[in-house]
Symmetry: C2
Subunit: 208 residues, 2 copies
């Protein structure tokens, strides 16, 4: 499978397989079938087999996929075989929620700092860290080698924050602010719109 250009839905499924494999590995399973993966991911066994067939011969007929080799391979493809440092900008409700995720204190992602521009928030504790002044972002991001920036500010601040992130050498930006932002040069931006999820589930409401 060519990397870097895979369509978004495929990458979302790879992420789901990866988490399923991590779970299976933690449970000390040696192998897992495509049916077992369907049960854990909700992705059909046929789709699992089709997607994983790109990665070579990890499946054994009647036995399933060898968990550890496939986990290592998929982690490599997803660029998650080394911890990625993350910062969050915007210490409001959404920023605080994300900052509390255990997944940001794992072998995969490591939350380095949370920033805000509100003087009443700067210096205050948030979970196990202290909220920093956003003007310090470029310096801290460069010093610590941060690669991923998460934006949870109001819409009006998002583009400016993205530009600050790029100044700090951050190369991937996840934008939760309710506005589309432009990618600063050298970065990739992913706009996440939580209202979209509500629209999508409306489509799936039982039709009478």
């Amino acid at each position: 499978m060519p990397t870097g250009r895979a369509p978004d839905p495929t990458v979302q499924r790879l992420s789901a397989y990866l988490r399923c494999l991590r779970q299976a590995h933690a449970e000390r399973l040696q192998t897992i079938s495509s049916a077992g993966m369907e049960k854990r991911t909700g992705i059909s066994a046929g789709q699992v087999r089709k997607d994983l067939s790109y990665f070579g011969e990890f499946g054994k007929p009647g036995l399933g996929y060898a968990v550890e080799p496939l986990l290592i391979r998929l982690s490599h493809i997803m660029q998650l075989d080394q911890p990625r440092k993350v910062v969050i900008v915007g210490a409001g409700n959404l920023g605080a929620a994300l900052a509390g995720y255990q997944g940001l204190r794992s072998s995969v992602f490591s939350l380095v700092a949370v920033f805000d521009n509100n003087l009443s928030k700067i210096g205050r504790p948030l979970w196990d860290m202290e909220i920093r002044d956003v003007t310090e972002l470029p310096k801290i991001a460069r010093e610590r080698g941060v690669e991923i920036g998460v934006i949870t500010t109001p819409a009006g601040a998002a583009q400016e924050v993205a530009d600050l992130m790029a100044q700090g050498g951050i190369r991937a930006i996840l934008n939760f602010a309710p506005t589309r932002i432009m990618s600063p040069p050298g970065t990739v931006v992913r706009n996440v719109d939580l209202m979209r999820e509500l629209e999508v589930i409306s489509f799936y409401l039982p039709r009478s």
Copy 2:
């Protein structure tokens, strides 16, 4: 296009077109080209034309799509041509963030109530509402005709909350709790994992 069975990526694109059309309509545009939609949605003009070709002849060569008819048609297909009532369960950081979204006070979605099981939160104000006791959920949901439930509780409570929602006649459940839940009978469940977005963007980090 057959409705109710469209694949998820297609539905996500329809949602993006719909919001682009609402914006164009608010700006009093009569028509919009597929290139104009690409600019606003980030979805390629070719994909836009392909998706919209399923809906009949809204495009005029050289002029683009007629905004209002296409908006009406897509709203109908997405089941968003009548306001959908929504409740949120879990008044922590993520629940509070979602409850504050303007999109939940629109002609499309209407937030009816926010619930929690924590006695120190019940009765307290949250934005323009008051946090209610989750045990009241089935009654309130039935009385008000709520169709969509959003779960922002810790993982351990999510399944129980989903079951309460189904008791209240809720038919679509958006689960933000970091665990997969089973669909209670008669409901459709969509599990949203915010950490997945981080994994997906890692895949797209520039490869050296």
